[in-house]
Amino acid sequence: MNQQNNAAFEVESLNAWYGDHHVLKDNDLRIDSKCITALIGPSGCGKSTFIRCFNRMNDFIPNFKLSGKVIFEGQDLYQPQVDPIEVRLRIGLVFQKPNPFPKSIYDNIAYGPRLQGIKDRTKLDSIVESSLKKAAIWDEVKDKLKKSALALSGGQQQRLCIARTLAVEPEVILLDEPCSALDPAATSKIEELIINLKENYTVIIVTHNMQQAGRVSDNTVFFFNGVIVESGETKNIFTKPLKKQTEDYITGRFG
């Protein structure tokens, strides 16, 4: 991967199980800081489990077991003294289906900051405005901040969810198939947004869309059966992958 960037994450010997089912098998990976890393692979290969390891979202799943290290800025996120809530504030996750709260647009964005104890109205106003601007949706919603977020279109809801993630000022944004429920126009807006985000954030994205991985990411990681088969610069993976398995997957010969 690109050696000019610092590592945001270092994953070492990461294994994960759901009960007896061994879903991630001894993976090592370095994720570059302020870069977009795409995780690709067929359904069930472990990429969603993998992305959720970065902000301990798997903690909620009964029977989930993990071994190995996920080191974020020098700190292993799975050490007992680490507070998972704190982790999720610094490392935000956007889901596949837009999931706005059944509240107003304003309250969706202000939700996180309020939990963090921010009560000052002017401060909240400014967080809401800047988050919606960063998520490239401000112009579309600025006159209806009090309306329900559920009235927005799918593409707008997804950008709202990204804005909601940005409102708590994370350092990393994880996106688990953020465009799979969106049409091409909305997809293109989200992709543009993702590319802009990398100026200030480390971005990791799971996608089933090979063209999307090619368009937005700097680095690509290919998973198969819970194992990282190949990782490297996206431009190399999509023109001359080193492994036959990678080539077969991205050219659609299996998977």
Partner: protein, 233 residues
């Protein structure tokens, strides 16, 4: 990408082979017309060029369609890019065969020249390069593609030798200047065909290995196996 895409790729392969066969035949005929001073054969090459041109356009349209509709990646992408470029080279080789046929047509109407140079040696070398580059494409064989690259230097040397001999001949025999210039042009056209065969070989290597090796002669010459290098020496 499923069966439909694989069918498109197979069709593209077939069409590329069809074009390369047409072009190879044109070169063969043009060279024969030149060595046998056969104006009938020369006319045949000239008349058939439109078929090569039409096939070239058809192939390019196929490539563009596949790129637009399927957005291929990795080996599929490299294959289509290689075909796009090889297509171009094949069409240019077809044009050069026509140029040679035109020289042959001129020379067949004039007094036979006596240049000591072994012209047939050069035509053999060029035809074997062309054949080698197309075989490399058909068999996805990088080794024979590398052999083509080495042969190009030999053809260049032959063309330079031809230049010197024609120059000497012109000094001795001013009455044949026009024919001699036509002969030199034919040699130059052959040398250009060898250059296009080299391009094709380089594109085949790109397709197989994913490395662009153009303008890196020293590197690939030291990379290849010793048994090929010793042939060159």
């Amino acid at each position: 990408m499923g069966k439909h895409f694989q069918r498109e790729i197979e069709r593209l392969k077939k069409n590329t082979l069809a074009l390369s066969t047409m072009v190879e035949e044109s070169v063969q005929k043009a060279v024969r017309a030149l060595t046998k001073l056969d104006s009938g054969l020369a006319a045949e090459v000239i008349d058939n060029d439109y078929k090569v041109n039409m096939k070239e356009v058809e192939l390019e349209e196929d490539c563009l369609k596949i790129l637009g509709l399927h957005q291929p990646v990795a080996i599929d992408l490299r294959f289509i890019i290689a075909v796009l470029k090889i297509n171009n080279d094949l069409e240019r080789i077809g044009d050069l065969a026509v140029n040679i046929a035109e020289r042959a047509a001129f020379l067949s109407k004039h007094k036979k020249l006596h240049v000591p140079m072994d012209f047939s040696g050069m035509t053999r070398e060029v035809q074997s390069m062309l054949r080698g580059s197309l075989d490399a494409l058909v068999n996805m064989d990088a080794k024979s593609a590398y052999e083509v690259l080495l042969a190009d230097d030999r053809v260049d040397a032959m063309n330079r030798e031809m230049f010197i001999q024609v120059q000497n001949e012109i000094r001795k025999n001013t009455s044949e200047v026009e024919s001699l210039i036509h002969l030199l042009s034919a040699s130059r056209h052959l040398e250009r065909i060898a250059d296009h065969a080299t391009n094709i070989a380089e594109d085949v290597i790109y397709m197989i290995e994913g490395e662009i090796i153009r303008h890196k002669a020293e590197e690939y010459q030291s990379d290849i196996s010793p048994d090929i290098s010793s042939d060159e020496a």
